[in-house]
Amino acid sequence: MSSTVKYSLAIVLFLVLGFGIVMYIQSEPSQNQIFESQIVSLDDGFGYKILRGEKIVIVQEFVPGLPGKQQFVSKEEAQKTANLVLSKLEEGKSPILLPTDLAKLNISTQVGH
């Protein structure tokens, strides 16, 4: 008997929690949605996507700013570059990556370009 009451209480609590989460997600204004990155595996290396919510805002198949089609040589280099873009966006700054940014991140670049 009391186990049925406990069971129904647990169900109600669980559902209230779920209800709250749904409300929270829905009330979040889209412009405050958090930026996220996704690393993508490419033929000769790696690139990244920047998303806001489910919306893709930047697709970077090549190292930004560099001439030619130079992909990131490792997942780590793509990730730290994407992280810098995210931090710029979250500070409300431009997502532009400058040559000095890439140098600070020690991004590998092909010789001869």
């Binding site: 109600v12 559902l15 930047i58 001439p67 431009s94 997502p95």
Partner: protein, 329 residues
Amino acid sequence: MNKRKSYVYKITGLALLAMVVTSCSSDDDDDLGNWVDKSVFDGSPRSSVSGFTIGNTGYMGVGYDGDDYLASFWAYDIEGDYWSQKADFPGAARNAAVGFEIDGTGYIGSGYDGVDELTDFYSYDTASNTWTEIASLPTARRSAVGFGINGYGYVGTGYDGENDRKDFYKYDPATDSWTELVGFGGNKRRSATTFTIDGLVYLGTGVSNGVYLDDFWVFDPATESWTSKLDLDEEDDYAIARSNAVGFTLNGYGYIATGELGGATNTVWEYDPASDEWEQKTSFEGATRQDAIAFSNGSRVFIGMGRTGTLYLDDLDEFFPLDEYDDED
């Protein structure tokens, strides 16, 4: 026992129903409008950018963000509605440059680096994502007009640092050389606008010595001759004259939108080449702006960037002129 069970089921059912109802709460669908807010170029406001559209990609770069002259260069994917940062523009960071396309290659050159008006010019190869310096424009200028047509590039008007200009130069990619093109009968000016309909280039607007010009011209590249069209103040209700506008073509009509007329404006005028007449369209719905850019692939057009006063803008809107006809009917 049965009663208790049914009680549990009722609560569970009600709660589930509540969840379903909330998660289905309607996202208000925007009314089909003339201007639809597209990709936000997040946090990267810039004005007086330069660019070109090749296929389904709009390219845009350089410009000024209120603090710095910029060299970064971006591609907007019209289908996917996202941006990519491409190879940096190799010349000095600048604004008020011209950009145009010749046979699938992009060109950006001239402009202003904060100190001097510039002559240097570069071509951009979309396939290899590389820039190549080409022959410099014979005379430095900023706020010129530039367009590519029939395998040649044309750059003219603008401001050289002391005077507004009316001269034009023709660029031949085959010989990598510029030659002066005589015959433009309009006044000297800066910050004019062009659009191209059926192989003819229309030029109008712009400003010189504080006067907004209202002459309007068409250039036939086959004969390389300019012909005067009806003035932009031909009808009493015309309010087309302005500077720093964007020009674009859609479905056989030309458009002049946004710009500056004693302050930023967001009005839009449509030109019918058959009748040589203008009609006002629904104003740009984004913030009023000048020094914006338009990307057009012939069937869709996007306007974005620019500034209003000292506030620099970073949004992009798509223009649907056909929806306007319904609104006005």
